[in-house]
Symmetry: C2
Subunit: 582 residues, 2 copies
């Protein structure tokens, strides 16, 4: 037996008990004739005490312990003379009678404390050491709890956890698949699922009624900072439901999770907004509504006054940065440079200072009179002391730029408190999205999303205007998840594939099994998937999903700890009857 | 709203309520002026009634419904005149006022009832229809429950669910990996994990203390009837434990699962047996101990009496088939043919009938006197009416053959009741196994298993005799799971790789990250993994794991429903910079 208790367990009630503990040597201090050792495990820290006079050998042994040595000790629980109220075991310490080194440790390449001196790369390479740090362990404990509470909630509502296959069929629609060569069927490949979409729909056709799965999904995309080639979804589907049933069910899930895991209670129903409104007010389909700073349309107000930039623009948008009229020239220039960076792409930015003395100062004073500027302020609800920013140009691009600026200002002004959580349902997404590159429409959500019946008449005349029964749950500027009511009619599904440029043969070849299934009694159904990585990061108040993944990959898709991907042996390639082109 | 209640919900208490139901038309019967329809969903069946006189149109509409049509109805709950006590809703029926066809259905290719007329192939192709059948749904509900109860139990014991990566590094040791070409790192490959073994060990090095995961694993093996290229493990690991801690913990898990899911209680501790004893008594490392028929060693008793077959054999083994002395010549011949099949490989079989009149009849009467045959009977504890079977030859092969015969007889004699569950811990597995093909030892469990300290001195002289701290849980002749105490010392791990024929470079290249991790304070640790597919099949009383998988692959590794694997497009191959050799 390696231990009678964990290092987070002993209390004043245990005094005089003989105990055995095991763990890592976190740190030690020699104070006169005493050596104090902090013994650490996942559950906490317990202080060990060695007395030089009473047991010289043992104490000398303790003094030789290095950081991160794994040790086992036996001793008696005693009351501390100077108590530590910051830790649950702080009232006691263990007077040690026996010490065994279970495993020595080299000096770690960085300090294993809450605050570490290790850079990102070295911590990635020694991820198993970084994972010893409390803040990292806490993130994975949070993830564990979110996953388990999700299961409890969904199980309570009769959802069944059904595993869908990982070795499936490649479908070129959407993002790139990771593929897996088949040795038994040479020349053929499996694909790893981008989501269990078609399988969960088949489960609805099979009458499973309510399905969920916490499941790995795979996308071979060029990685961005917050993307991983493998990611985890809370994947759900329900039969005999309308959109409202789904929103209610999963609003309930999110409320349950925040309550059970973070102790946060949401009052009332989550607010809802159409996609159109979200784009208009925030330039984003996942607006952060922890703060206002909504877009105000200045087009009419500002055009035809001789300022060519505005006159030539499809739209002029403004936002109001409250209480920022004291921004210096330098601050303003930095913001203008910020929106002009290629990632944002604005050509320039106009500002209007509503000074606290009631005067105005703008970068376009020569085109607009004070009276006109006052109208700007009025329209943007700006009071003395506020600062307006104006961007102009093409509607879509300007909204996107303004959306980025808004979030940037939100960060700068401390308006995005990570401990405040503001959910928002975004509804009525467009069914289709124009793909400039390939000069065709593609499905905004996926090809199985049902169009809104009332918009269906536009499907061949103005397909871009057709709205879908699709919805996202946004929170704090992050898309936590999304879903849709699915098509369950064979003919409509075939029509969708046609609209997306599939030939009949392509549609049948890739999705024939699903369309066939729809002919044998498919119920109305719909669902939703949450990104678990994103959800736990948001719940943890962090922007980075990587911290919430035990063994993440870097932005080249590499696991630098195990050094994967890597070369295969010639024998392996030969068995697969495969070659890599050189 | 598609329904106010499910089809398993309404009772006599609901009489006179107006309800809306949705589901599948299971069957209908016209009785005089009435039409009765069974409406089915996952939750049950509710009887709908249409009255031809009262509402002719509606009733005629109902009579046109085909099997598996998806419909929605509104009506009033009424008490049945003739009640059906076999179903929970059998006291009521719904007098229908409105009927809507939500989706029509073609006639299914096989009957969707508990007993179906569909063969295995057609059901695999239309798996989504086979999944509608009650017995199939029940199996997946059992699986759902086992998984959830596993999580609850392990969570209660402070195990943390930590997700490990699916895109890892290929290691040629052990079974074949499925590999995934990397587009971003051309010429390099990920591998899909055969198990999260090294990652869970790293989590122990990281101080996670108790880890579990219900996780897909992948092996590219030539498939046998009960193997799938992807399978699911309940994967667990614990730090600061000895073998006994692990056995206690997971014996507790199995007890909990059987109690919670099947209502089966096991009395006392699970029996235990060494690997050596299991091989000696049952010729199997996963003996079915629902019945006796243990091997009796007849070598000494039968040799040197002039029967050359026995004299030339390393071993002569016997088993006693009780009460079988009346077996006919035909039955005996069939059994002899059975053991001579190539899958079993015996050269022949000797029997001894212990007739009920006290006489003996054997197939080797001319070599053995009645007195000698009486000694056989005595040694095998055979009474009048019993039947002995003897096999002989090489020790290992004879044990294996006899083990197969024993299970075959167990089946034939009805000794393997699927509703009786007999767990058995098999302990002290050998560390190494001789690999005839490659003329070297390989790890019986895996290269991370620790040898028993007391056997360690044999490691270079008689490596085959070194036992490991490895254990399996067998039940009813099935290996439910297994595990081991791991090596946590860098030098010992390096020594193991050396013993297994790895060069230093190979070991460092493939498992350097793990050996490095052991240098930074690795705790003693060990673990276990259960095969979830196997576990639920056993709990369900079935031999076939395929029935317990929602979308299984066939024995060519194909998913015939979606037709995977399949060819890739030229564009996909090109992007991966890959070619398949022709």
């Amino acid at each position: 037996m390696y231990r009678s208790h964990t290092n987070g367990e002993l209390r004043i009630e245990n005094i005089n008990q003989k105990v055995t503990l095991s763990g890592w040597m976190q740190r030690s201090r020699d104070l006169g004739g005493m050596t104090f050792v902090d013994l650490r495990d996942r559950y906490g820290i317990t202080q060990l005490v060695f007395n030089l006079d009473e047991n010289t050998d043992l104490c000398m042994q303790a003094r030789k312990l290095g950081r991160e040595f794994v040790i086992q000790v036996e001793g008696i629980v005693v009351e501390r003379s100077s108590k530590n109220k910051n830790i649950p075991t702080g009232e006691i310490e263990i007077k040690i009678e026996k010490l065994t080194v279970l495993n020595a440790a080299k000096t770690p390449p960085f300090i294993i404390e809450d605050e570490t001196d290790g850079g990102e790369e070295i911590r990635a390479q020694y991820r198993y050491l970084d994972l010893r740090r409390n803040p990292v362990q806490e993130k994975l404990k949070l993830r564990n709890k979110v996953a388990l509470e999700t299961r409890k909630y969904l199980d309570f509502l009769d959802f069944l956890d059904v595993e869908t296959p990982y070795l499936i069929k490649s479908t070129p629609e959407g993002a790139r698949d990771f593929v897996v060569p088949s040795r038994m069927n040479q020349g053929e490949f499996y694909a790893l699922p981008q989501s269990p979409q078609t399988f969960k729909q088949l489960l609805m056709v099979s009458g499973f009624d309510r399905y969920y799965q916490i499941v790995k999904c795979f996308r071979d995309e060029d990685l961005r900072a917050d993307r991983q080639p493998e990611f985890t979804q809370i994947d759900c589907e329900m039969a005999f439901v309308e959109q409202e049933d789904i929103l209610q069910t999963f609003e309930g899930l999110i409320k349950h999770l925040f309550q059970a895991v973070r102790g946060v209670n949401f009052d009332g129903a989550f607010p809802r907004m159409t996609y159109a409104k979200a784009m208009e007010k925030y330039g984003s389909d996942k607006p952060d509504i922890r703060f206002g700073m909504e877009f105000v349309d200045f087009t009419e107000l500002t055009q035809n006054k001789g300022f060519k930039v505005f006159d030539d623009s499809e739209v002029v948008l403004a936002i109001n940065a409250q209480d920022c009229s004291e921004y210096t020239r330098k601050q303003l220039d930095e913001l203008i440079e910020w929106v002009k960076r290629p990632q944002i792409g604005a050509k320039g930015m106009i500002y209007l200072k509503c000074n606290s003395d009631g005067t105005f100062k703008s970068s376009v004073d020569k085109f607009y009179s004070t009276k006109e500027l006052a109208l700007w302020a009025e329209k943007a609800n700006a009071k003395a002391g506020d600062l307006l920013f104006l961007l102009s140009g093409d509607l879509e691009k300007t909204r996107k730029q303004m959306g980025e600026l808004r979030l940037h200002l939100g960060n700068e002004l401390g308006l995005r408190n990570p401990n405040v959580f503001k959910p928002l349902w975004v509804l009525d997404f467009p069914l289709l999205e124009w793909d400039e590159e390939n000069n065709r429409y593609h499905a905004m959500h996926h090809p199985f999303t049902s169009p809104k019946p009332e918009d269906f008449h536009l499907i061949y005349t103005e397909p871009g205007k057709v709205r879908a029964n699709a919805y996202d749950l946004a929170m704090n500027g992050v898309e936590l998840g999304g879903g849709s009511i699915r098509i369950h009619d064979r003919d409509l599904q075939a029509q969708m594939f046609d609209l997306l440029g599939f030939t009949k043969d392509e549609a049948q070849d890739q999705f024939g099994f699903l369309m066939n299934a729809f002919e044998y009694g498919a119920p109305p159904h719909g669902g939703l998937a949450f990104g678990l990585d994103r959800l736990v990061a948001t719940m943890g108040g962090s922007d980075s999903i990587r911290d919430y993944i035990a063994f993440p990959k870097n932005n080249r898709g590499r696991d630098v700890m195990i050094d994967a991907p890597s070369l295969l042996s010639k024998e392996q390639l030969k068995e697969l009857n495969m070659n890599t082109l050189s």
